[in-house]
């Protein structure tokens, strides 16, 4: 009874569906609703998280003086809340990771999609995906025990716990994401594009560089953005290998010194901080800054994709 009532209600809301009244069973009703609800819930959750961050983070602006907040000293137990070194720390580690992940990731994707013979492809693709499933804390262990001592001796640095170590590890973590998405995008480029290029006398390299890669551009860019997003949000591996010293990182030379990232700061300090204190609010404020930076990266990426799509449509039409 109640089911019929609910059905009739849904029909009244969605008049388009009434013509298939006889086919829509109650299972279908539940399934469509469930899918719709999970779709909306993504938006609701992001909005809730954002409001929670605002509520817990914004009090910082009243509690900490602005000059303190933009100073270069982070030492929260003595009320030094300069978040600039943390932001530059996160940025330099992420830029370094992108410099590693983009060429390696796109290169691997091109090799798998365009060059490798079929049997090689069938080995490589699952291996890359397996790499993507490795927990980052395991990579962190490798980094702290093997990679950072080696890097210190190899580059003759005072310590191996540097931004560079974090960048290389993060690059390694981001590569499988980039490869996986970019390879799928390259794979969906129609075969006729390549055949057209070959018919014009283009070499394999020219076909890849001038035809296939630009055609798959939006997918490749999505892969890069997902990879960079993973890098900027990664916490555990970074906290283990970057040394966590809140030093201002202003040039690429800072890659060779220790840095403290925003994520590592939150992870290291949130556990012990008194709820509702100035320090607690400031950690949420850092979370808010991190959220805004990821948002900016995503918006920029989709703007680029959108623009290139429009241009492609204009050319094709």
């Amino acid at each position: 009874m109640s089911l019929n009532w609910a059905l009739s209600l849904s029909y009244s809301i969605n008049p388009d569906y009434t013509y298939m009244k006889s086919e829509l069973t109650w299972q279908e009703f539940i399934i469509t609703r469930a899918i719709k609800a999970s779709g909306y819930s993504a938006i609701v959750f992001v909005a809730l998280i954002f409001f929670f961050l605002l509520r817990e983070g914004l009090p910082t602006l009243g509690e900490v003086s602005f000059s303190n907040l933009v100073s270069t000293r982070w030492y929260p137990i003595e009320d030094y809340f300069g978040i600039v070194p943390l932001i530059t720390g996160s940025l330099i580690v992420t830029i370094g990771a992108a410099l590693v992940a983009i060429p390696f990731g796109i290169g691997t994707a091109i090799y798998i999609a365009e060059i490798a013979p079929r049997w090689m492809r069938e080995i490589l693709k699952p291996l890359v995906e397996l790499l993507g499933g490795l927990p980052s804390v395991v990579l962190g262990f490798l980094g702290i025990l093997v990679f950072s001592p080696w890097l210190r001796v190899f580059l003759d640095l005072p310590t191996g716990l540097t931004a560079l170590t974090g960048s290389l590890l993060l690059g390694g973590i981001a590569v499988p994401t980039v490869v996986s998405v970019a390879e799928d995008a390259l794979d969906t480029v129609p075969r006729s594009y390549r055949e057209g290029a070959w018919a014009l006398g283009a070499t394999k390299w020219q076909t890849i560089w001038r035809v296939t890669l630009p055609a798959a551009r939006s997918g490749v860019l999505t892969g890069v953005m997902l990879g960079v997003g993973r890098a900027i949000g990664e916490t555990m591996a970074v906290m283990m290998v970057t040394g966590n010293a809140p030093v201002l990182a202003l040039s690429l030379g800072s890659l060779f010194s220790p840095v403290r990232t925003m994520t590592a700061t939150i992870a290291a300090e949130m556990g012990e901080v008194a709820s509702g204190s100035v320090h607690y609010h400031t950690l949420f404020f850092i979370g808010l800054v991190l959220f805004l930076i990821s948002l900016a990266v995503n918006v920029a990426a989709s703007a680029v994709v959108f623009r290139s799509k429009k241009r492609a449509e204009r050319i094709l039409s």
């Binding site: 030492y75 191996g160 283990m240 040394g243 010293a245």
Partner: protein, 297 residues
Amino acid sequence: MKRTPLLTGFLLVLAILSVSCSSRTASQNSPQSSVYIENKGSDTIVNLALAWAEHYQSVHPDVRISVTGGGSGTGIASLINGTVDLANASRQIKSEEIEEAQSKGINPVEHIIARDAIAVIVNPQNPVTQLTLEQISDIYSGKISNWKEVGGEDRPIVRLSRETNSGTHVYFLETVLRLSEDDNKTLFSRDTLLLPSSEGIISEVRHNPNTIGYDGLGYVPHDLRVIAIAETEGKPYILPMISTVNDKSYPIARDLYMYTVGEPTGAIKDYLDWILSSEAQDIVVELGFVPILLYQP
């Protein structure tokens, strides 16, 4: 009808929950057969106090001990307010606190229950074996940044520290960097590496000859070099050991306390006596603190 197994399961879970809840509150509140000791205070001691309480309760099932942290000041304040039986403190009670207690007719009695010493460690390849407190302070504040300035090789100094939320970090800041001077506002050098665990510090010191680090004496493995420390220039350089910590010749060590209201009696006295036994002091060693030597001849 299809719903029945689900419903039964749900009811079953509810029943189990309610039973377990009621049994817990019953055992916590009923004073008939068991004694209840409330223990609160220093975060430095909280793990030790928990380990003791766990062990003691397994041997004396009639005694229940509840342990919470919150800081030395919180513990002593609760003792004065009469809400706890035992207050843990990593510092001695202040004279204002004693006055406040006496104004309420409470006489806090001090018991030293363990000691805490911090060892300064370097890589075994490093020829430096001894430093003064002031040299360590200058190294960590950034005034000294090459090992040759303190008699070592020409190598940059890489400073390692625990994260700021560690009690060891705060104690090291106050006792070593600020040399226990109240008006001293020296801070750690900005490029001090803050590592999230003892293990991180030990692994980096083991692999890197440039490093200097510190940690609770009990956590330091034998393959690292422990630095002998002199309080000031001209005084003897002392290595941290159970004996030098107990005779107070090693400068970076402190006593850990429990405070009771008046001289302890009954179950609390039994518990404190057990804490000073060799069995409980072995747990002190396990947790990286230094045992007191009362039980040794």
